[in-house]
Amino acid sequence: MAHSDDCQYNYACAECDLLIDMPAHIPHRTALVCPRCNHTLAVGHRNPKHHVVAVSITAIIVMVIALSFSFISFSANGQQRDINLFQASSELFAQGYYFVALLVLSFIIILPILYLLCLSLIIVNTQYKLHFISTHLLGRIASSILPWAMTEVFLISVLVALIKIVSMADVTLEISFWAYVIFATLFTYVASIVDSHRLWQWIAQGDKW
């Protein structure tokens, strides 16, 4: 049986466990797939660190905007109502549906922000050799929460909800909604650049110093 010392391979496919010799360099925008099960292992990018940190910080700022203004306004028969993003969760909480309220709040606001924060902290930490927080811990958090971030799903849901009520009353999309659209786009962009191979490669680079 071969063990880690005499093994020439440095990577195994997450879906079929095939040992793979990962190339040191992957060309820009080229996907590297597992030869056996076709699972996408990594995607090449010219300058991933700068893109990710810049876009993540932009997205966090946009999210702050999305949380500060009103999201949608609704008026019927002379009555008007504005809601902000938090109310999508807090109204459920107020009606006693704590479990759903918690899920909605985490999936659409908390986890996406946490993911971007983790990425930015990992990059800043490894780039400037700071060690005020464990990058391994951050990497574990980021890897675990990615499947639970649902910004794009929420966006589609807003549109479905609008279609449902647009005939009943006047519905206006406010600043916060457009900010959330930008946030979701930026988030999806970041998630498409950062595959787990690249993320852990960054963390490993940080260890060397």
Partner: protein
């Protein structure tokens, strides 16, 4: 003393359990979080310290148990109202199916189709796909591992999209609160449906596709 048959004893060594060329066969464990290869004898990943094992332990059992729970939750999610609309004191509860029927009767076929697909087809398809994967991984002999892995990928991808229904209710409940005129209350089905989505997603995450690839060499 009964001696084992010679064919079995020669085949039953540890390396035969895993697919050829796999990390597990080479005595290495691939960490599911950080993809660092650690010696199989270790209990924790040497890099990120997560708990590891060559294959997710009791993967099929855990997947199936979460799946059965989510299927049981799916029943109240469809029977009970997901929200109650109150217009001028007149309360009308609506179920998921009720919403689809309502849009069909209004002639909005596109929206009816969107809701029908997102909240009925997708969760059911996901449950059947996972059940089929569990069945194929344990009971069937000649499996198409490539196709099954693709089925898993699709299941994993569509997982979060069934949350649409819960978010729609969350938005409507927040938005439509005009005192005395019209208001919307959440129904118990919203909790059940959120539970269904959560459990099926967990169930998909717990399924280890690597056992499909181990299986193929046994025939």
């Amino acid at each position: 003393m009964v001696s084992p048959t010679p064919i079995d004893s020669s085949k039953e060594n540890t390396t035969d359990k895993y697919a050829q060329g796999s990390a597990a066969e080479a005595g290495l464990t691939n960490c599911r979080l950080c993809h660092h290869l650690t010696d199989s004898r270790e209990q924790h990943c040497q890099y990120c310290n997560a708990q590891i094992s060559p294959r997710v332990q009791r993967s099929v059992q855990i997947t199936l148990s979460l799946l059965i729970t989510s299927f049981l939750l799916y029943i109240p999610a469809n029977i009970y109202p997901i929200m109650t609309t109150e217009v001028l004191g007149d309360r009308s509860p609506s179920t998921i199916i009720g919403g689809v029927v309502l849009f069909l009767s209004h002639g909005s076929y596109f929206i009816a189709a969107v809701i029908f697909i997102a909240s009925i087809i997708v969760p059911l398809a996901k449950m059947f796909a996972l059940a089929w994967l569990c069945y194929a991984a344990t009971c069937r002999q000649n499996i198409d591992k490539y196709e099954l892995t693709r089925l898993y990928r699709i299941t994993e991808f569509i997982g979060k999209w069934s949350m649409v229904d819960v978010y729609v209710v969350a938005i409507l409940v927040a938005l439509i609160q005009l005192t005395g005129l019209m208001s919307i209350q959440v129904g118990i089905a919203a909790s059940a449906f959120a539970g269904v989505v959560l459990l099926t997603m967990l169930s998909a995450l717990m399924f280890d596709t690597r056992i499909l690839w181990d299986k193929a060499i046994k025939k």
